[in-house]
Amino acid sequence: MTDAPADVVLEVEDLAVTFEGPDGRRTRAVDGVGFSVHRGRTLGIVGESGCGKSVTSLAVMGLLPKAGARVSGRVVFDGQDLLAASERTMRDLRGDRLAMIFQEPMTSLNPSYTVGDQIMEVLLRHRSMSRAAARERAIEMLRRVRIPTPEQRFDDYPHRLSGGMRQRVMIAMALACDPGLLIADEPTTALDVTIQAQILELMRGLREETGAAIVLITHDLGVVAEVCDEVVVMYAGQVVERASVGDLFAFPQHPYTVGLLGALPRFDERRDRLSAIEGAVPDMSAPPSGCRFAARCPFRIDRCAELPPLAPVAPGRLSRCWRAPLEALAA
């Protein structure tokens, strides 16, 4: 962490989210997660489905259902603890300083309103501007996300747009008020590969223009390599590794990360079958007391029955593994 503390936009410490089912069964979906995001930088949160990455982002936004979700820890944004903030304060921040885009561009826009209306709505909510000014700004936003003929598209209903175009509209809406932080939850997962690349390129460009910090949630390491500066790898509700993107890909320091990288198909190697991580994610309503990855880990030792801490293994990087650093093992 070489940046000055003033540059930190979002600091998450010891975040935990527990869901309580109607039968009283508790599931700890997020357990002691911590990371920080800096101005103008992109943090990737990586992990397979169910690892708690989306829940983490919804907790930051204050969008988890009030009934049934218990959130603890600290989420400091612009010097303010969001978990202690009132619902009213959160509503004022959401859409303005804090913005989010989602995985499903096909269903995330309201089918009954034009895309222009939906972008204007966020401006009228957070900025005291006239409808005419909001309209102008909305068209400008559509232009900035490279939607052709934005004046005409303004009056289109979402069903007239393709998935990629809709995700551009979502981005335009999210960035309309110049947020300090943009959370993108799997923004390209539902899109074609070529469209994915365009959207990522667009996000990168807009980050440079606006200086917003981005939290990019994805299961796709290719996307991480493309746009992220730093990466948090999550497994079963916990952070298992934190590193800069270069370090992570060069020397993964957690067996799970090694497995994820190994599961990436590559052109320069011929393999008879794709490698996969054996086994399945543990049941989160009764997680193992020791290392949560132990059951699937090829490097397991006796000590793994005890939960390893998220400890520094090299300057600027953390790993939750008793056997880290892993250089010797990976060879």
């Binding site: 509503r91 989010m100 309201n110 089918p111």
Partner: protein
């Protein structure tokens, strides 16, 4: 939009044809002879014969039908055998009464049904939701005649606030008109409100769980705006169709309630006509009701298109 309307108007022709054949045919299956009813106690064969000839009852049914259709097409619904009045005039007198009652009932039903439906969806699984569901179920299951009688007993007999029965046209005295129709409108609206409430609830729950509602929340919109603007607009589409269908039912189905409150509307007209084998009146009323019903469906489809831009293409 215009294509949809013209398509539906074309469908109107065969539909109405079948409806007319059905009403005409079915009613001749009814036991009893209108001429006998008309002739009264004495049953003088000469009089009966004369009545039969006058109303073409002596001719084969297809011929009678053709004659009737020819009249309908030229705007003549025939003449009531009992009241000696053109059916069209009777319809003209009674339709506004039934229409007023139907509109008022619909307002009661929509206000109650949509409001309670939204509340129970927003407070899903909580006490308010259970309470609303119990109230809604009670509304659906309470028989109209019982509720009507109870309301008369309480508000008219006990408290003396409202007249127990009768009808005053709003063009004569709108206050009195409101006073005479508010109870029957509530009775009719109440049972429909329960159905509308249940549909609104499930549609709203679906809408509130949708991704676009999550987006609306992520924009920092107030809960009011999220629920009433983003979720409701999408949830109300099925409710519009339901409302139109229920409105159509109100036009023909208020028989019992109209009887209880002595409202001189369609319901009373048709019941009297059936009992007296007054064929022309039954046919005329059913035809008008059916046409209105179909027209309402068309209006519902148009409303559907207006709130749902995906159908506008």
């Amino acid at each position: 939009m215009l294509t949809v309307i013209s398509k539906r108007l074309t469908q109107l022709v065969p539909t109405l044809f079948f409806v007319s054949v059905l009403i005409f045919g079915l009613q001749h299956l009814l036991p009893g002879d209108p001429a006998l009813v008309m002739a009264g106690e004495e049953r003088d064969p000469v009089v009966i014969e004369q009545i039969r000839r006058q109303y073409r009852l002596d001719q084969p049914i297809p011929v009678q039908y053709l004659h009737w259709v020819r009249g309908v097409l030229s705007g003549d619904l025939g003449e009531s055998m009992r009241l000696k009045e053109p059916v069209l005039d009777l319809v003209r007198q009674k339709l506004p009464v039934t229409l007023q009652l139907a509109v008022m009932s619909m307002i009661v039903a929509l206000v109650l049904g949509v409001t309670l439906g939204i509340l129970s969806a927003v407070y899903r699984g909580r006490t308010l939701d259970h309470l609303v569901n119990v109230v809604g179920l009670a509304g659906i299951s309470t028989p109209n005649f019982w509720l009507g009688i109870m309301m008369i007993l309480f508000f008219a007999v006990e408290l003396g606030w409202l007249p127990a029965s009768g009808y005053v046209s709003p063009f004569e005295d709108w206050r009195q008109s409101l006073a005479t129709t508010i109870m029957p409108a509530f009775v009719l609206g109440n049972s429909i409100a329960g159905v509308i409430m249940r549909h609104t609830r499930s549609a709203m729950i679906q809408a509130l769980d949708s991704d676009y509602v999550r987006t609306a929340r992520a924009k920092g919109l107030s809960e009011g705006s999220v629920v009433l603007k983003h979720a409701m607009r999408n949830a109300l589409t099925p409710v519009i169709t339901l409302g139109a269908l229920e409105f159509g039912t109100l036009l023909s189905g208020a028989v019992l309630t109209e009887q209880i409150f002595s409202i001189p509307g369609f319901g009373k007209l048709i019941v009297d006509a059936v009992f007296n084998r007054d064929y022309a009146v039954v046919q005329g009323v059913v035809l008008v009701t059916a046409t209105t019903y179909i027209a309402l469906n068309l209006l519902a489809d148009i409303g559907y298109i207006l709130v749902n831009p995906r159908l506008r293409a």
